[in-house]
Every structure is written in structure tokens, then in C-alpha cells.
């Protein structure tokens, strides 16, 4: 039977807008959430640190990050399993990106973008397969292109897209400042937001450099409400990342495989 391509998808991005507000450190999470009826809008106290963080990341000429990720996958039988990965990304604006994803089963993915070519190398149980495609000229264009056209997700894309500050507000239904909650001993603003399809939380460092320390998404509309969580342990804004960081060099055992673009109308899933 013929099947018609549908496929929707999207790449992402977020964040917000805000007005700096002095906040009372005496306020507790329960105070914030129970003071009145459920919030009907996004609290400025939540938006301010979020906006500062996004602007900081958007303005960084170069940055790198490493995060310890866990995510749930609901199996066909309904059982929810959790998997873990270490994801890293190094970015040099406007046109260089390098990412690595190391799964808990040993599978490795390495992504290289040098301004004209996007290369994906997977290393799994001794097999090294890679594919190369022509890519748009900037990181900003690369991220949606890679996701939609080839199903390639870049780690932490939500945080590094320069237009994130403009994209998120429209999607937010509520936002709250939950409290001053440390992450691995570092003081942070714990914020919670709700959108139509998901709830998410973020812990943003209170001290410079402003950056995310932890991020949790709950996909509340999906069966069993799977979660994604990442704890960052290495946000940096290096002065310079050498070109070699972003260039893929084949090894003897590497095998090239052609890439098949997704249908023009969207992405699978």
C-alpha cells in the first residue's frame, strides 16, 4: 500500500523575556505556588533570569557545554525505561559547531559542522559509519535544517539558538519562580514553566556567568509522561576554538553511507 508522506517535526527553541526583579529570598516554593489560584500568566520573577541567561548565551561568540542527560522511553508494553547520555557541544559563531553524544550503551555520535558540510559519525560495536551532507552557511540555519531534513538533533539546541528569546514567550502558559535551589552546591534560581504539551523547569546560576545548571522537561500529554533531564557540568565561553575542532577527518575504518533527506514537508515522528 502506498503511504503518503506526512511527517511533522520541528526543532525547537525557547525562552523568554523578562524584567529584572528583586526577589525575596525568603519566599519558599510552597509560598510561590499556593499563594493564590493557579497562575494564569508568566511571572516576571521567572522571566527575568531566563531572559538574562538566553541573552548571555546568544551573545557569546563561542561556547561549549557538557551535560549529563537522562530521558524516559515508554515501551510498547507501557513500561517506562530511563536511559542516559553525555552530550557535549562546542560552538563558534557564526559557522562552526561540534557535538558529541555518548550513550550509556557505548554508542557514540560525533557531529561536525565547518560552515559548509555537516558530518555525522556513529561508532557502535566496532562499526564506524559516517555521512556527509551540504549544509547551510550558519549555525543558526544549520540547527533547523539538520533536524528537519535529516533528523539530526543537536545537543542543547534550545539554549544556543540566537532567536530563542523571541520564540518562547508565545508558547508559555505559566511561569513561576520556585525558589533559590542550589545545583551541585551552586546557587541557582529554580524556575518552572508550563506549555500546552509539556511542563519544564530550569535552574539558572545566580552568579556570573549566567548559564543553565539543570533542565527538566515533562511531556505531560504523552502516555506515562516521560521526562528529559540534563545537569550541566561544564558551560564555558572559550576565547577561541581552533578550526580543527570542527573538521572531520576520516579514519581507515570509517565507511561512508549516503544520507537520505526527509520529505520536504517535515520530519518523521
Amino acid at each position: 500500500m502506498l503511504a503518503r508522506q506526512s511527517l511533522r517535526f520541528a526543532l525547537t527553541l525557547f525562552l523568554v523575556w523578562a524584567v529584572p526583579v528583586e526577589r525575596s529570598m525568603a519566599a519558599s516554593a510552597s509560598d510561590t505556588l499556593s499563594a493564590s489560584a493557579p497562575p494564569s500568566a508568566v511571572d516576571d520573577q521567572a522571566l527575568a533570569p531566563l531572559r538574562r541567561m538566553l541573552e548571555s548565551l546568544a551573545n557569546a561568540r563561542a561556547l561549549s557545554a557538557r551535560g549529563r542527560v537522562t530521558y524516559d522511553v515508554v515501551q510498547e508494553c507501557g513500561q517506562k525505561l530511563q536511559f542516559a547520555e553525555t552530550r557535549t557541544v562546542a560552538l563558534r559563531r557564526p559557522d562552526r559547531l561540534r557535538a558529541t553524544i555518548i550513550r550509556d550503551d557505548g554508542h557514540e555520535r560525533h557531529i561536525y559542522y565547518d560552515g559548509s558540510t555537516l558530518t555525522v559519525l556513529d561508532v557502535d560495536r566496532g562499526e564506524r559509519l559516517y555521512t556527509r551532507v551540504t549544509a547551510p552557511p550558519t549555525v543558526e540555519d544549520l540547527l533547523p535544517f539538520a533536524a528537519a531534513r535529516y533528523g539530526i538533533d543537536m545537543p542543547f539546541a534550545d539554549f544556543v539558538m540566537p532567536d530563542a528569546v523571541d520564540r518562547v514567550p508565545a508558547a508559555l502558559e505559566t511561569g513561576s519562580w520556585i525558589g533559590a535551589h542550589a545545583v551541585a552546591g551552586e546557587p541557582a534560581d529554580h524556575l518552572a514553566f508550563r506549555q500546552a504539551e509539556l511542563d519544564w523547569q530550569i535552574w539558572i546560576a545566580r552568579d556570573e556567568p549566567i548559564r543553565p545548571l539543570k533542565f527538566v522537561v515533562t511531556y505531560k500529554r504523552l502516555p506515562a509522561a516521560p521526562q528529559f533531564s540534563v545537569t550541566f557540568d561544564a558551560w564555558q565561553a572559550p576565547e577561541g576554538l581552533p578550526d580543527a575542532t570542527f573538521v572531520f577527518t576520516t579514519a581507515e575504518a570509517d565507511i561512508e553511507v549516503p544520507a537520505v533527506p526527509n520529505p520536504p514537508s517535515g520530519r518523521a515522528q
Binding site: 503511504a3 503518503r4 506526512s6 527553541l13 550513550r103 555525522v120 549516503p258 520536504p264 515522528q269
Partner: protein, 254 residues
């Protein structure tokens, strides 16, 4: 899930290296799911098309908003789609991204992993993979390295086809058409086996393979299987599908 596997065509296939094969790995679980991306944007949200449709990564028309479009209807009703997916995951094949709550097509156009031990067939010194009646090639599809369903490779010679073929005549050449592949009869001593040849542009056939996909390019909808593109003329007399030039080739970009 549907994929234009035939887009191996536009330059990709020329350099194809068949990467050997992996033994079947019937993992009892999947580690793919929507939460793995950690994205704040639901998957069904369309993104903006690139401003430069003429770039090498070609056109990008917006998704259909027509509620009569099966693709749209599917997204609107994931529960019924899930039931359909469950009924269409036959014969031990694990369809690409067949996770039960994913809202997408499931189709035998590409596979993440195989539940068979593929036969290794060399044609013109190139390794090809075959599982039953399906020919496969390693391909990067929708974010992962897997297997795309392709046609039998050109030059492949067989003495026995997998089923009755449709006779097709174009100009002075007689073809035998089966499952998206055109064969001609060749002479091998006293034998008369069938050899796979390139799909002849202009040939008309009455069917296309299950793994055929719809794809739209510059406002025109095509059907595509591996390296072969068809257009459709259901109203006309005679065979319904016609082989056309690959619309994605650079020479056709105008």
C-alpha cells in the same frame, strides 16, 4: 514512516559504499522516544522554510493544512493511527521508528535494524544486501544509520523472478517489470535469464512497490522508489504510472 529512499539518486548513490551488514539484533526494548530530544517544541510543529529554496538542499514547501490529506488526518488521530501501525508491523520486521505512540507513518521503506540475516550479493564488485524479496542498502535516514529499501541493482542477473512480471514495451525494447524494477532478457549460452536495467523514462506500468513514497517537488507530486520516479495518471487509459526523469537532478533545476 515514509522516506524518499530513492533520493539516494541525486548524487548520493554514485558514491554509495555498502557497509556490510549487522546481524539481526532483536532488542527487547527501544531507546527512542520523544523525550530523548529534550526539546521544548513539539515534533508536529512545522518550521519555517529556508529563504533560499534554490540552495543545494533544495525546495522546502510548507506542510499541507488540508484536513483531507491523510498525512494531516493521521496527526489529528494518533490513537487510530497507532492501531493501524500495530496491524502493519508484520512478519517480524521492525519498522523504522515503530514506537507505538509516535505519530508518523510506518512503512517498509527503511529500517533501523533487520530481523533477518541478509544475503550478501555482489554485483559489479559492489556488495548488496537482500532479505527475502527486499534489496537493502545502508543509509542514513532520519537521524540514524539503518537500511533503506532499494530496487535490485542494475546488472543483477537472475534466472527466476520472485513472481509474475508485467510486460512493458517502450520503443523497440521489451521489458519485464516487477516490484519497481525493470528487467530485460539476456542471452547466457542456452539460458535466457533476466537482467536488471535502469528504469526507462516514458515506460508505463500498472503498479508500484509498497516502499514507494510520495514526494513533492516544485509543486509537482511524484512517486518515488529507489532511483525511479513516477507520475500518476489515474484517469487515463492504460497503465497508471509513468516513469519520469529524476526531478531533483541538477540539470532539471532550471
Amino acid at each position: 514512516m515514509i522516506r524518499p529512499v530513492g533520493l539516494l539518486v541525486a548524487g548520493f548513490v554514485a558514491g554509495t559504499v555498502f557497509a556490510g551488514f549487522a546481524a539481526p539484533s532483536p532488542e527487547p526494548f527501544t531507546r527512542e522516544g520523544p523525550a530523548a530530544r529534550g526539546s521544548l517544541t513539539p515534533d508536529d510543529t512545522p518550521i519555517s522554510p529556508p529563504v533560499d529554496g534554490g540552495e543545494p538542499y533544495d525546495v522546502w514547501p510548507p506542510p499541507s493544512e488540508d484536513p483531507q490529506d491523510p498525512a494531516v488526518a493521521e496527526v489529528e488521530d494518533p490513537d487510530s493511527r497507532r492501531e493501524e501501525l500495530a496491524s502493519r508491523d508484520p512478519d517480524g520486521w521492525r519498522s523504522w521508528r515503530s514506537h507505538w505512540y509516535h505519530r508518523h507513518h510506518s512503512d517498509q521503506a527503511a529500517f533501523r535494524r533487520l530481523h533477518c540475516q541478509p544475503e550478501r550479493v555482489f554485483v559489479a564488485d559492489a556488495l548488496h544486501l537482500r532479505c527475502g524479496g527486499l534489496w537493502l542498502a545502508r543509509a542514513f535516514v532520519d537521524g540514524a544509520f539503518g537500511y533503506g529499501v532499494v530496487g535490485a541493482p542494475e546488472g543483477y542477473v537472475t534466472h527466476a523472478l520472485d513472481g509474475p512480471c508485467e510486460p512493458v514495451r517502450l520503443d523497440t525494447t521489451a521489458y519485464c517489470y516487477l516490484d519497481g524494477v525493470f528487467y530485460v532478457t539476456v542471452v547466457r549460452g542456452t539460458a535466457r535469464p533476466h537482467q536488471v536495467v535502469a528504469a526507462p523514462v516514458g515506460a508505463r506500468v500498472s503498479s508500484v512497490p509498497d516502499a514507494t513514497v510520495f514526494i513533492s517537488h516544485r509543486g509537482v507530486e511524484y512517486l518515488q522508489f529507489d532511483r525511479t520516479f513516477f507520475d500518476e495518471d489515474p484517469a487515463g487509459g492504460g497503465p497508471r504510472y509513468r516513469v519520469v526523469d529524476n526531478p531533483f537532478l541538477p540539470s532539471d533545476r532550471g
